[in-house]
Amino acid sequence: MKILVLILYTFRELLSRATLVVLAGISTLVIALTMLSISMSESSEGVTLQMFGNPISPPLPADAVGEFVRTSQVGLSKGLFIGIIFLGVFATAGIVPATLRKGTIDLYLSKPLGRWELLLGKCLGAIAVMFVNVLYFIGAIWLTYGVKVGVWNSGFLFSSFSITFVFACLYSLIAFLAVLSRGSPIPIIGAFLYLFVIGGLLESREQVLYLISENTLYRSLIDGLYYVMPQISAMQAGITNQIMETSINWKPFVQSILSAGLFFGVGVAVLSRRDF
């Protein structure tokens, strides 16, 4: 019950921030453009997909339209993924530090509320906001393609859950860094550093990091670090497969939820020991 209250009010808090309004605005713009521009024409050669009246596909046999739509949905979901990560991190990274501020944390912790509940409620609130944004975008695009082209790709609709899941895993790292630093710059820098530098290096560790040393301990440490961190790139590949309706490797998702649990658990442990 109290966690639900925290989620609802964190939701409201985030809605009062400009970053999310920008994100929702961009989503609305893309949705509106897709709705207005996408159309389909049929001829004896096959079905042609059009954008603003211009063909964007060669004449396709009826059974190949679905494949073409799924590919374009992958492109849209990748764009959304980047948008969500960029703006989402900026919009939500301040939630935990704002809660831990002197004068605010005193109010929360004087209530019959465990520290883990407080952190969980705040994190789930941030994730819930991102889920609504993702669902709004994906749902509207899914509906547009379904109504206008007749392709009802459930994999694309369900990718809204997967994208939110990836964000949630990343958010556990953000929340952990926020508890440690009690400010928002370090979580933001840490998240982007992991996404664009460390994550990529760990992903291609065998080609890059292994070259630095052949020492077994060093390589074990690198491997350990890779498995401890959320598998963002691998999960992104899984989302592509989900939209394309091909088989998905669930291992990165399982590994990432364990990683998220670890970061959240350590974050709670640090928070529980801290004096305010």
């Binding site: 109290k2 209250v5 004068g103 005193d106 109010l107 912790l109 209530k111």
Partner: protein, 311 residues
């Protein structure tokens, strides 16, 4: 019933990563507060007052010792549903209005949404904030924040209320109103633990007072007990005091000062007072008034701290 009990409580903060420094915020601190009292905690800046309150709310973990609130050993999350707290320099989420703040923190206190809603209007009236209930708290003045903070501390109808500088930023009329609210809460059987640097206020409403300095409890007692020991009398006279009478009075009384038509004397017993009156009457000096002046809590506090520094 003992509402608050601290036994041999100590708290040491460690600061610095390389050259660690230890700060003893509380040293072997023991204190008991009876239920239904207004208890004032006094001390200079850095004495450990806020650390003590925060220990009672489990915001700070004690290094050693035991703490009980409402006969429950801390830390205990559930007991906080029976506690209200107004922190110093509190910050409410700026995007909420006054009534939304009460609804939010009321629900976090474990009170059902409909119960919280029914409590909001009377509480806002009690703290004089009905007019501004729909204004965002980011636009509130310091005094308004204190009032809404007090309402927040009372939203769960707590048995024990901790108030850290509750009248900070509140005008004199508002301070009087808050004092009246606290007296009324006491009549309802609530225990109020007050941390304030405004000694005159603590003196006006507290049943018992504790003074701490540098993490140690210096003394505890009623205001009368702490201010006892020596009364100052101001005797109004007509005309001026002749030097002979003055010298005789000085020989009789330890400390005497004459300022125009007023004679101020520090006396230990009523017998001394009567002897001084006899002297004045013998010398045909008309007495216009006799005012008994007690030491204020501030006088006692300053004397105690001075003695502590000297020792």
């Amino acid at each position: 019933m003992i509402a608050i009990a601290a036994e041999s409580l100590s708290k040491t903060y460690t600061t610095g990563l390389v050259r660690k420094q230890r700060i003893n915020a509380l040293i072997d601190f023991s204190l008991h507060v009876e239920a239904g009292q207004i208890f004032g905690l006094l001390g200079p800046n850095g004495a450990g007052k806020t650390t003590f309150i925060k220990t009672l709310l489990s915001l700070v973990h004690p290094t050693s010792g035991k703490v009980h609130v409402l006969e429950t050993r801390l830390p205990n999350t559930r007991i906080r549903s029976r506690i209200g707290y107004l922190p110093e320099n509190h910050r409410f989420p700026g995007y909420l209005t006054g009534e939304q703040v009460l609804l939010y923190f009321g629900q976090l206190s474990g009170v059902g949404r409909s119960d919280v809603k029914s409590r909001i209007t009377p509480l806002l009236e009690l703290v004089g904030m009905s007019q501004w209930r729909r204004m965002k708290v980011r636009r509130y003045s310091k005094g308004m924040m204190q009032r809404i903070g007090l309402a927040q501390a009372l939203i769960n109808d707590p048995e024990v209320i901790f108030l850290d500088e509750p009248t900070d930023g509140v005008d004199p009329v508002g301070r009087k109103e808050i004092r009246d609210i606290l007296q009324n809460l006491k009549r309802q059987g609530k225990t109020i633990f007050l941390n304030s640097h405004l000694l005159s206020e603590v003196e006006l409403i507290s049943d018992r007072v504790a003074i701490l300095d540098k993490g140690r409890l210096l003394t505890t007692g009623t205001v009368d007990e702490l201010t006892a020991g020596g009364y100052q009398y101001q005797i109004g006279i007509e005309g001026t005091l002749a030097d002979t009478v003055r010298n005789e009075a000085s020989a009789m009384v330890m400390n005497i000062q004459v300022n125009g038509n007023t004679l101020s004397a520090e006396l230990k017993t009523t017998a001394e007072l009567n002897r001084l009156i006899d002297l004045l009457r013998r010398n045909n000096i008309p007495i216009t008034s006799i005012i008994k002046k007690r030491d204020t809590l501030e006088d006692s506090f300053i004397n105690l701290i001075k003695r502590e520094v000297a020792s």
